[in-house]
Symmetry: C2
């Protein structure tokens, strides 16, 4: 039996148990897990040191090393995350829309766990506890497959969490870790539709593409964000500058950051000088189409590739258009279905943009940076779905649940 098969069978065995845990027990376990993580922080930090040293040896870049790094403060943050999940309402068990049919059958939909959730992620140890907390709260077994660059940190966190479960007399197999981080084992995990109900990749475009192409398990795609803001003719210019600055520079390495600005031709003169000045103060590199370049020859010419690019950096492409229709067409062509915003004071244009833009989140007069489970008031976030099935946009606990129809009869047969 392979490791994956063994994990799959253990997950199936633990599934019924975790699905039936009372809310109170789940919350107690999450709170205890937070305490235990804090208490065992030194052990986790020791393990993290091994990963950090190997990362440095292998020439891992500063950004990735920062994501990998754990100290007491960061472990405390992870613990706080679990405590927050404990405070959220338990969505499991609710019955939705129970209605009576003419033949007397009562039909409703009961909210239940998905069952077994697979999560594939990269070298971010914090995802370990976060993914466990969200899956556990919703009564799911989770099988984690973390990046090999963080494997010692991840193992230490998993060991700590499984001990908490065991201490609470909960089957520790609610949380399973794939120890073998080889590519073959990862591919094998993607083929386990027999054992897994869903697979969620959390990471870069390469990982997500590999999962979409190889998985026979249903996937929730959490995608990249090539986010646009369109500044319409009638936009409030001062407000627009603040929104653009916020969306581009408040945090740059995130999927809801602004990557491409679309500007109505008629307001270039009024908007651009001050906007360019403010963006340059923040050291944002600019590329633009011909009209932008001829307006300000210090701006470099954008290539075809720029329009489709998620920079995740202090860089912004600027495209001019003649109308809201042209803006919508451009955005629908190049966007990744994440977050798009129109800045306008024209009611009809706002409605048109809301109706016609094909994306998970469509804004009027606000920064794209709000696309986030916490900002949307869900109290948690599994990720941001850029696909259309099951969940679209920021996903809270509900995305980790499904429903089953329950039908109460008193002897009905079909005529």
């Amino acid at each position: 039996m392979t490791e994956i098969e063994n994990l799959g069978q253990r997950a199936q065995k633990a599934k019924k148990h975790v699905a039936s845990l009372p809310t109170e027990t789940k919350n107690e376990a999450l709170k205890k897990a937070a305490c235990d993580l804090r208490e065992k922080a030194p052990m986790i930090i020791e393990a993290n040191k091994i990963d950090m040293e190997m990362g440095k040896e292998h020439g891992m870049n500063a950004g990735l090393l920062d994501r990998l790094y754990l100290d007491e403060g960061r472990i405390d943050q992870i613990a706080i995350g679990l405590e927050q999940i404990a405070k959220l309402d338990d969505p499991i068990g609710e019955v939705l829309g129970m209605k009576k049919r003419p033949n007397g059958l009562m039909i409703g939909q009961k909210r239940v766990p998905l069952g077994v959730v697979g999560i594939i992620y990269e070298a971010r140890p914090n995802v370990t506890a976060d993914a466990f907390g969200l899956c556990f709260k919703t009564g799911n077994v989770v099988i984690l497959k973390g990046g090999k660059d963080a494997i010692h940190s991840i193992q230490a966190i998993v060991r700590c969490l499984r001990q908490t479960l065991a201490d609470m007399e909960i089957d520790p197999d609610c949380l399973l870790l794939v120890e073998d981080t080889s590519r073959e084992t990862t591919i094998e995990l993607m083929k386990q539709d027999r054992y897994l109900d869903v697979l969620i990749p959390r990471g870069g475009a390469g990982l997500i593409r590999a999962v979409v192409e190889n998985s026979t398990v249903p996937v929730i795609e959490t995608g990249t964000g090539n986010c646009h803001i369109f500044v319409d003719e009638s936009a409030d210019l001062d407000q627009s500058i603040e929104i653009i600055l916020n969306a581009k520079t408040q945090r740059i390495g995130v999927c809801n950051a602004l990557e491409s600005l679309v500007v109505h031709e008629n307001i270039i003169d009024a908007l651009m000088p001050k906007l360019i000045e403010r963006l340059r103060e923040k050291e944002v590199e600019l590329v633009g189409d011909e009209i932008i370049v001829s307006f300000d020859p210090t701006i470099a010419c954008a290539t075809q590739e720029d329009w489709g690019k998620e920079y995740l950096a202090l860089k912004l492409s600027i495209k001019t258009v003649k109308s809201v229709d042209e803006a919508i067409e451009h955005i629908n062509h190049y966007n990744t279905g994440h977050s798009e915003s129109i800045l306008t004071n024209n009611y009809e244009h706002a409605q048109k943009f809301l109706n016609e833009i094909d994306a998970a989140c469509v804004y009027v007069n606000a920064s794209t940076r709000f696309t986030d489970g916490f900002e949307f008031g869900f109290g948690a976030e599994i990720g941001i779905s850029t696909q259309k099935l099951h969940a679209r946009g920021p996903m809270g606990l509900l995305a980790l649940t499904t429903t089953k129809f329950i039908i109460l009869g008193n002897g009905q047969v079909r005529p």
Copy 2:
């Protein structure tokens, strides 16, 4: 450019148009399509004759030939289906749960079409108009790939429907047909995540497996049904016999028919003699476990394979258990996640069964035959989903929609 690429690009072009059609226009087109189908019935029947002759030549069995066959009455049924879809409420455009956040942002979810739906089916010409009607009503473009054994009938129906669209000045590319029915082209269709938002296989287990294994497009699996009824100790015996007879024999070739009966040991003597007699009157072949066989030696012994088998025939397997727990364990092991029913008068057992059975539809004291979009009151049915993501159980129009978040601001930036 391949045929599939050409269709994908045409679908993308037609997508915005069909998504924005007013409800009234969609309903008029559906009603006109029904009239046109009736009017062109002779032409469709001519095309169907070619498929029927080829089917007979290739030794197609009687059941499949019956599914393939079209006459005026059957075409009228197809037309009535479109008229019924015209009468349903249009789910597109509704905004769900618009709420105000503390920062003043208004956030709601707008119901929108999925975009481009791919449907792969077999030699059932009626699926052509049905799938078109459901996708069109929900503002989706549909790309159909029908079975090669029905290709002439399907082409004739598609030609008729596209003419209706053209007559109404609607882009006929709302309905596209893959003309090349080769395996290579079908596989190519499954890889078009660039153009397709969802792929729905409608057909047998082999087709569904091929789609799950090959598709990079998100799939809605409409699966097989190995449905069980568990007769508990406290069940009303006369009512149980009527329910079992109904579930097994009212229609046999359908996924919600009863395939396996689970009986509490303590009621074998009271239930079985009369039940066996009634089932044999209906010519149902019985196989059972050792206890059943020793109770009635004329019943054949069930093999391991029987417990997992969807007979779709006048055959029933019978398993005895000592408790409701054993019944649940057996059913959760062998079921296909479709429809399961408990017959009982014990409140606790009913609750346990409802909670612990892992299936799309869980019944108390009713026939499994009610698992159906029309019986559930949806007014339509795309299929019955046996997966857990997006839609589970009978799927009505809502399964062909998604939502997007719309966020209305007045200058909000993220602090």
